[in-house]
């Protein structure tokens, strides 16, 4: 049993109060959370004053960028030296931990606050300013423990909506009218001490969570079946054929950390004559060549760690269901190694370890 704090406030207000409490009490010197920006959008910000935190929107259902990527870059050169709390969605936290396994980030002095996650809207909803009007309905659907068909398809089909390595979990999808905050560690409990509200023994509402997981699982099968035909060369060309080669999917990906990606370099550029051999057997070549190659190359490098956050699809200018394609492949690979990306920092990446007596049937 964990300690649970029953706050007197609605979820968004309660989360904001938690951030302010942490800053006011001096338990942390900064918080990283979503803040509003002019023009209808939100952005992650490092906030150090409680007054500024009072206008933050910690649970706003948008993911302008996967916070895992932000944290990786934030801690790439040096760990955080003073205590900072970060409010990350489960897939953001998991993505961050996956990059740490690749020695790209550090957890020192970070307090992880996460949530049972209801999902986010595609980012284009922020641009047209229509999102605020949708918020009451968004929270209403959460209270009914139902699916929201306007969210990112990866969110609608997400069954990994519970955080794994958070110190503190905000009960959102399994919440009550007032926000309940679960302390998962002694560190987390110490951070909550002194907040308004009542402490009790408890945890998450497993019943509501498994009911929602079943609904999401059903949505998952239908979305995975419907959204990305990636069967065979024909399917791959159908799905990725309209790619304009902007590589925004890889830029937005929290796992794709390489600052000098092979696909951004001239490594795979070809001289005109290099096409000659290929043109002996086919009627033509696409220019620039290597569209499917880029996507499969990226897939073979990162799908094992794909947390299915949907950021790649969110930024695709030609609406390719990138995230669903990667989710399909990623889930299959991950289950092959019984691996859940970001579940535990101590778990080694499956391609960085081995057992002598395994997969002996792979040889052909």
């Amino acid at each position: 049993m964990a300690r649970v704090l029953r706050t007197p406030l609605l979820p968004e207000e309660g989360a904001r109060m938690l951030l302010q409490h942490l800053l006011d009490s001096g338990k942390v010197e900064g918080v990283i959370s979503l803040d509003r920006v002019e023009g209808g959008g939100v952005a992650y910000s490092l906030i150090t004053s409680s007054e500024k935190a009072s206008s933050s929107v910690p649970l706003y259902p948008l993911m302008p960028v996967n916070l895992g990527q932000v944290l990786t870059r934030f801690t790439l050169k040096e760990g955080v030296t003073r205590p900072i709390a970060v409010l990350a969605r489960p897939c953001e936290l998991r993505a961050f931990l996956e990059t740490i396994k690749r020695r790209q980030g550090r957890t020192e002095n970070l307090l992880f606050i996460s949530q049972t996650c209801a999902g986010v809207f595609p980012s284009d909803r922020a641009v047209d300013g229509s999102l605020d009007a949708k918020l009451p309905e968004y929270w209403d659907i959460i209270r009914r423990n139902d699916l929201n068909s306007e969210l990112r398809t990866t969110c609608q089909s997400c069954v990994e909506f519970m955080p794994y390595m958070a110190d503190i979990t905000l009960r959102v999808v399994d919440g009550e009218k007032e926000l309940m905050i679960v302390a998962n560690s002694d560190k987390g409990e110490g951070m909550l001490a002194g907040m308004p509200g009542m402490f009790e023994e408890g945890g998450l509402d497993e019943q509501r969570i498994s009911a929602l997981r079943e609904k999401r699982r059903a949505a998952r099968s239908s979305i995975l079946g419907r959204d990305a035909d990636i069967r065979g060369i024909e399917g791959l060309v159908k799905t990725f054929g309209r790619c304009i080669g902007c590589h925004a999917c890889s830029k937005a990906c929290p796992i794709c950390y390489c600052t000098s990606c092979a696909f951004e370099s001239t490594t795979f550029e070809r001289k005109p004559e290099d096409h000659a051999g290929e043109l002996e057997v086919k009627a033509g070549v696409r220019l620039p060549s290597g569209t499917v190659f880029f996507h499969l190359g990226r897939m073979v490098h990162m799908a094992l760690s794909c947390v299915a956050c949907g950021s790649c699809q969110d930024v695709c200018p030609v609406d390719i269901p990138v995230a669903i394609a990667f989710k399909k492949v990623g889930e299959s690979l991950q289950s092959r190694f019984d691996y859940v990306p970001g579940r535990d920092l101590k778990e080694i990446l499956p391609v960085s370890t081995f057992n002598l007596e395994e997969f002996t049937d792979i040889e052909g």
Partner: protein, 142 residues
């Protein structure tokens, strides 16, 4: 393409210490080898980036072979063990994508196994001939 029977083209990545020496032995032993295999020597099978395999495959190779030292016999102690895990990943990805996983193969061939090398490449090319041309070899919009 003319109508004569399809002869599968194979790109083979062979490790310097075992598989390449095995292939060499097959050659000097005058064993019968399929002509359409292109051997590329690498220092270790573990050095083969899966991207190279994808590039060969999408470039139209009918099959890609990676061969290295037997388990426990790697010149670098454990490079081939990482190859094996990577192949599990690659095969699974090929299967999920419906890309005929049998077009990629990994084999352990020691320096003394000239005969095994000749058998592996012969069986592989025969199975690829039965499978027919790689669909990627005719696709323009890759």
């Amino acid at each position: 393409m003319d109508e004569k029977e399809h002869e599968a083209k194979v790109i083979a990545f062979l490790c310097n210490w075992c598989a390449y020496a095995g292939a060499d032995l097959a050659g000097v032993s005058r064993l019968n080898l399929p002509p359409n295999i292109r051997n590329i020597r690498v220092m270790c099978s573990g050095r083969v980036n899966p991207i190279w395999i994808l590039k060969a495959f999408l470039g139209g190779a009918d099959g890609v072979l990676v061969a290295g030292c037997h388990p426990r016999d790697c010149h670098y102690q454990r490079g081939n063990m990482f190859t094996r895990r990577r192949f599990v990943l690659l095969k699974d990805m090929f299967d999920t994508l419906g890309l005929e996983g049998e077009r990629v193969r990994v084999s352990w061939i020691s320096a003394s196994e000239g005969i095994k090398y000749s058998e592996v490449v012969r069986e592989f090319t025969e199975s690829l001939n039965r499978l027919g041309p790689n669909p990627a070899s005719a696709e323009i919009f890759l």
